[in-house]
């Protein structure tokens, strides 16, 4: 092996190590993008990036009925539901990653995902 080969190999080695190291580092500090995930009967039907500019209102349908969801100021709430007891509406706003609003009769769940300041689960 000549001197040139050794230098090339060494450079390749360092580049690879650097890439792998970066990968591990970025991974250990990964921050999942803040999103609102809407599921109907357990299946994801909508994902919406959540930031301070997200301002919207939309309908979510399931086999059982529908909800009207509002997103504003990085918060989410249900403002109308076809269900009987309206517990989903009474829950008010949620804003933390890990929090969710569930409408049991309509089988619709709305969850905030993301890692910063989040919770792993909510007891109720």
């Amino acid at each position: 092996m000549r001197k040139g080969d050794r230098i090339v190999i060494l450079i390749l080695l360092f580049v690879t190590l650097f890439v792998a190291g970066q990968y591990l580092y970025s991974h250990s500090n990964k921050v999942l993008k803040k999103e609102v995930i809407i599921r109907s009967d357990g299946k994801v039907i909508k994902r919406i990036a959540l930031n301070d500019a997200t301002k919207m209102m939309f309908t979510v349908k399931s086999k059982e009925g529908f909800l009207i969801v509002q997103i504003n100021n990085e918060r989410v709430r249900v403002i109308k539901s076809t269900c009987r007891d309206k517990l989903c509406m009474k829950q008010g706003w949620i804003d933390r990653p890990g929090e969710s609003i569930v409408c049991l009769p309509n089988r619709i769940s709305i969850t905030i995902q993301g890692e910063k300041n989040g919770v792993d689960s909510v007891t109720y």
Binding site: L87, Q91, G98, L104, N117, D120, T123
Partner: protein, 336 residues
């Protein structure tokens, strides 16, 4: 191969290992998740590790199995059969149903009936079963109370018998916690490293949390979102009973679904209580019992049972058992 080449090859093997390790880590860091509607609620399951998909499937099967035994509206369930044959005959049931009913009766005894699995007739007259909420007459409540007695549940080998016609059991206050115990066993058998399962607000944290401790939000009983975060380590169970989950308001008064087996009326001494325990069924049933008991008796009993609690009284003031207050971060001090 000369010495330098050997070093080069070793170097590359090292690099390949690092990269492979990074990929495996990434794969294991993303949980397999699912949400299922069962036991009149929602179950949210997250499993980590290399065999996460297989484990997730097993967990779902376990939940469905227990739901089939305890669903009091399904004519095929053990609970339905027991209730249908109240005062008539003993019913042969699945060993797991026997186990669950035994445990429910045990907690009923230990809490002097503040938790009572024989509560069903009372839930029926208040409309919490058919969701046609109503305030029953005093007379109806008085008569129904005669049917609420866990001592009338006769367990004999694999059979269960309710002594009087009209009696009925409801395992809704223990089945979710019991299921989490069964899931914990599965996770252990499958060598799962980490998982978090939420069954209608009853949470099982399994293994070490990604950042040292699990952050479990406690639902704000009156306002938006959560009232604070409970930080727990390792494998544990967290259960809550509150008056905001199923309730109706009549003439400005709140009537919640947790009924006091002594008075026959909805419990209203506190608004919420969260129990942290090392057994799922204990935490689930005790949260109901403590909700019925109110603050002072709940705190005394928590000590007796060796569990920790976070409660919220009628003035929305928090109360704790010693040793858990410092693990609780109120939402207004979140500093984000």
């Amino acid at each position: 191969m000369n010495k330098k080449n050997v070093i080069t090859v070793l170097g590359w093997i090292f690099v390949a290992t690092v990269v492979a390790f990074a990929f495996v880590r990434k794969f294991n860091d993303i949980p397999a998740t699912t949400e299922i509607y069962t036991m009149n609620t929602i179950a949210d399951i997250k499993v980590y590790g290399s065999n996460k998909k297989v484990v997730l499937q097993k967990v779902v099967e376990e939940i469905n199995k227990i739901n089939e035994l305890t669903d009091d509206f399904s004519p095929h369930s053990d609970v339905y059969k027991i209730n249908e044959n109240a005062g008539i005959k003993a019913v042969y049931v699945h060993p797991e149903t026997v186990d669950m009913v035994k445990k429910a009766v045990e907690i009923a005894r230990l809490t002097n009936g503040s938790f009572d699995p024989a509560i069903r007739p009372l839930s029926q007259i208040w409309g919490f079963k058919d969701k046609n909420y109503r305030i029953p007459s005093k007379e109806t409540i008085k008569n129904t109370l005669k049917l609420i007695n866990y001592n009338d549940i006769v367990i004999n080998k694999n059979t269960i018998f309710l002594k009087k016609k009209g009696e009925g059991i409801d395992l809704g206050g223990i089945a979710k916690g019991y299921t989490l115990d069964c899931i914990k066993t599965i996770l252990k058998e499958m060598h799962t490293e980490r998982a978090i399962i939420n069954m209608g607000g009853n949470v099982l944290t399994y293994g070490n949390a990604p950042n040292g401790y699990w952050r479990i939000g406690v639902k704000n009983p009156r306002g938006d979102g959560i009232i604070g975060i409970l930080k727990v380590k390792g494998t544990t169970f967290i259960s809550t009973s509150g008056d905001y989950e199923r309730f109706f308001i009549k003439n400005g008064k709140r009537y919640c679904h947790i009924l006091d087996p002594n008075s026959g009326y909805p419990a209203s001494k506190i608004v919420s209580v969260t129990v942290v325990s090392d057994r799922g069924y204990v935490g689930d049933a005790l949260s109901t019992a403590f909700f019925v008991m109110g603050k002072d008796k709940a705190l005394q009993n928590a000590k007796k049972f060796g569990v920790n609690i976070v409660g919220i009284d009628k003035n929305l003031k928090l109360f704790f058992t010693k040793g858990i207050e410092k693990s609780f971060v109120p939402e207004n001090e979140k500093g984000r």
